[in-house]
């Protein structure tokens, strides 16, 4: 198993990409902490599902945008697990990928940008800020930030979302540059449109088909695709890989 006995925190993991990643990590032997904001039922159901499949998991509620919340979650993790090996920063402020209702450059306000920056960058900052002391203590850690392939190819210009996800790439590289020698690797994954998830259910079929037509593999990304790459980056297979961003989008973006 690739993640035997590792302690992994996955933010926003009661559903969608986060949930698929949690399941995969648990199947690979990790002890999974399912962080969620609101959906207690879904988080508990996922814990139950993982346990039934022979894995280990707990659910912890915390708002990643609130440093105090994050601090107390980390304190619990430290007490309960005596360390933290892997973090997947997957949580985002609620966003509906609906090309029909997206805000145009003229109509969008700074508050929209601020919301997304808070969700993506501030949330990730808070988690990393609190996780790094635990990781550097053991001279081993893996941080995986979920960005988006829209940063490289804004096929649909969700301005606020794309800007925040681009900032996250900068944050990933900068942090990687500093903490690499402390044994902590920081990488990003840039998923293409991942379907189905709660955020992408509003993306109409016509748009999905348009993306599929442009995608070499001829299909959209599904949550377990992201979980696979996350597992790679979290495992020792990715040793000495840091500051990178891997697109998981069927080859839509090639770099």
């Amino acid at each position: 198993m690739l993640l035997q006995n590792k302690v992994a925190l996955i933010t926003g993991s009661s559903r969608g990409i986060g949930a698929a990643t949690a399941e995969k990590f648990a199947a690979e032997g990790a002890f999974v902490i399912i962080n969620y904001l609101i959906n207690t039922v879904a988080a508990n159901d996922l814990v139950e599902k993982i346990r039934c499949a022979g894995g280990q998991a707990v659910a912890i509620q915390a708002d990643v945008c609130d440093l105090e919340n994050v601090h107390s979650m980390m304190a619990t993790i430290k007490d309960e697990f005596n360390g933290l090996d892997i973090v997947v920063n997957n949580a985002l402020k609620h966003y509906s990928f609906n090309p029909k209702t997206r805000k145009t450059a003229e109509l969008i306000g700074w508050s929209n940008y601020q919301d997304q920056l808070d969700g993506s960058v501030k949330g990730t900052f808070n988690i990393c800020h609190e996780a790094l002391p635990l990781m550097t203590l053991q001279n081993w850690g893996r941080i995986i930030n979920i960005s988006s392939n829209l940063v490289k190819f804004p096929l649909i210009p969700y301005h606020d979302y794309v800007t925040a996800k681009a900032a996250l790439i900068g944050y990933t590289r900068s942090l990687a540059a500093e903490v690499g020698h402390l044994g902590v690797q920081v990488n990003a994954i840039a998923p293409g449109l991942t379907y189905p998830t709660d955020s992408s259910t509003d993306t109409q079929n016509d748009v999905r088909e348009k993306i599929i037509r442009m995608t070499p593999t001829g299909r959209l990304t599904i949550p377990t695709d992201i979980a696979g790459t996350a597992t790679f980056l979290a495992s020792n297979l990715a040793n000495n890989v840091t500051g990178q961003c891997i697109c998981v989008d069927g080859g839509l973006v090639m770099q």
Partner: protein
């Protein structure tokens, strides 16, 4: 608890049974009446009486407007009945939820006002002859009448399809007794509820009830007490109902059919082939080939930049992608055995030197492509199982299709304009009754002559008042000079 029947307000039942479905953490109980022959008789009497008092007097323009209003409600994503349908139909039918959502959205739009006019204008010189006498070119005054009541046996293979028949029957101002299948008893009930919201009196001319097909006592009462019977379903279903219908009454049936696709070399150029493959797969994957409109075999012409065997491989790869995108329904043991049997048959042929290749999903029956290096034709056991036949010239297909003539229905074509009508003409000769674009075969268009027949005319009878009768009557006008 939800009732999967909808009958006029005056009809009451005593005993009920139910089917139970589980979705997420909720349990849905679908309730239906246990029927006696007297129930069917009473229902027919009631809907006939309601029709006499209301629908038969209702101008066709009003009928169209009411149906259009119902359809408009269904185009609203927040409409409760639509939401319920999209939630429950995947559970009841096991079809992929996305497929149902998209196809229902497309399907209901077939019956908007402008499309209803197309249905009517396609078959009648003027829609008003459904309301009153109108002069014809011959000089006679003519009025059209639909059956007092029509017994409709719906199939359950395609969600929502039942309302095609229900709407056609209503357009000819006939009361409807619809027998639903337990495989999909929901949509027509929800749709008649919508009609009831808009015009309860019109809804009172319709009754939708499920019972187990082959219950002869009920079906005999239904056929004998209505003026027309329409049957959708397998040949077995058609054959079981046919003997029950008295000779003097209208009997229309839409039984087992085979549809196929034809891909010309002009659709296999370097710039077009990817799209062609995708479109070919749509025709196979939507509703898992359960529709009589779905492609079961594909003729692929030689001399494109992509060879027919490569087309077969790409169709296989696209079916694999489709499975990731929209899962096929789970199968009964009989259905998966049928697929495995066919797979084995062709794999054995391959071992024995016949130029056949079989491409399959691994360790399951999700999809199958059988490539035939010699032209021919074969039907499929369905559920995303398709034959690909290479052929030198599409113009040669008739010889391979001929043995299946009785069953052929639609053909999806991707060919150049110079060949389209020549090929269509050739296919028409052997009974094919619909040509669509590749990728669109499962979506019939308004006004299509379903299985080569009329939608409305076959249900109608006409009365002609000859000019001499008119002239004679003028003589008896006491005021005339």
């Amino acid at each position: 608890m939800f009732d999967i029947f909808n009958v006029p307000a005056n009809i009451r039942f005593k005993d009920f049974d139910k089917k139970v479905y589980h979705l997420d953490n909720e349990t849905y109980q679908l309730r239906y009446p246990i029927l006696k022959t007297s129930d069917i008789k009473n229902i027919i009497l009631e809907i006939k009486q309601n029709r006499l008092e209301y629908l038969s007097q209702l101008p066709i323009s009003n009928v169209i407007t009411i149906i259009d209003q119902a359809i408009t409600r269904w185009t609203d994503p927040s409409y409760p009945q639509r939401q319920l349908a999209l939630k429950l139909l995947p559970v009841i039918t096991d079809y992929d939820a996305e497929t149902i959502k998209l196809e229902i959205k497309r399907f209901i739009r077939l019956f908007r006002k402008k499309e209803l006019f197309r249905f009517i204008e396609n078959e009648l010189p003027q829609s008003e002859i459904l309301d009153d006498f109108h002069p014809q070119r011959s000089g006679s005054m003519v009025k059209a009448f639909g059956p007092e009541a029509t017994f409709q046996v719906f199939s359950g293979n395609i969600p929502g399809l039942q309302i095609w028949s229900l709407i056609m029957t209503t357009l000819v101002k006939s009361a409807s007794l619809g027998k639903t299948s337990f495989s999909e008893p929901l949509f027509p009930v929800l749709f008649t509820q919508t009609i009831a919201e808009i015009d309860p009196q019109l809804a009172n001319c319709m009754a939708i009830i499920p019972w187990h097909g082959g219950t002869v006592s009920l079906e005999r009462i239904a056929t004998e007490n209505t003026e027309a019977t329409i049957v959708y379903g397998s040949n077995k279903t058609v054959q079981s109902i046919r003997p029950l219908v008295p000779m003097s009454k209208i009997f229309l049936h839409y039984g087992y059919k085979i549809s196929f696709s034809m891909i010309g070399k002009e659709a296999l150029t370097a710039d077009l082939y990817t799209q062609t493959i995708k479109q070919a797969v749509e025709d196979v994957a939507i509703y898992d080939q359960q529709s009589c409109l779905s492609t079961q075999a594909i003729f692929v012409e030689n001399h494109g930049v992509i060879t027919p065997i490569m087309v077969a491989k790409m169709i296989a790869a696209e079916l694999a992608n489709y499975q990731t995108k929209r899962k096929r329904a789970s199968l009964t043991i009989e259905q998966s055995s049928a697929i495995n049997r066919e797979r084995t048959k062709y794999q054995l042929e391959n071992i024995n030197g016949v130029s056949v290749q079989v491409f399959t999903s691994t360790q399951n029956t999700d999809w199958t492509v059988v490539y035939h290096a010699s032209p021919g034709f074969s039907s499929s056991p369905l559920n995303r199982f398709v034959h690909v036949f290479q052929i030198d010239h599409l113009e040669d297909v008739n010889q391979y299709l001929k043995p299946y003539q009785a069953y052929l229905q639609s053909c999806a074509m991707a060919v150049s304009p110079t060949r389209l009508f020549t090929l269509a003409n050739q296919l028409g000769e052997i009974g094919i009754n619909r040509v669509s674009a590749l990728g669109e075969i499962t979506r019939a268009k308004p006004g299509w002559h379903h299985d080569g027949h009329f939608n409305l005319l076959d249900l109608l009878h006409f009365i002609d008042v000859e000019p001499n009768a008119e002239q004679m009557s003028e003589k008896y006008d006491p005021d005339v000079e």
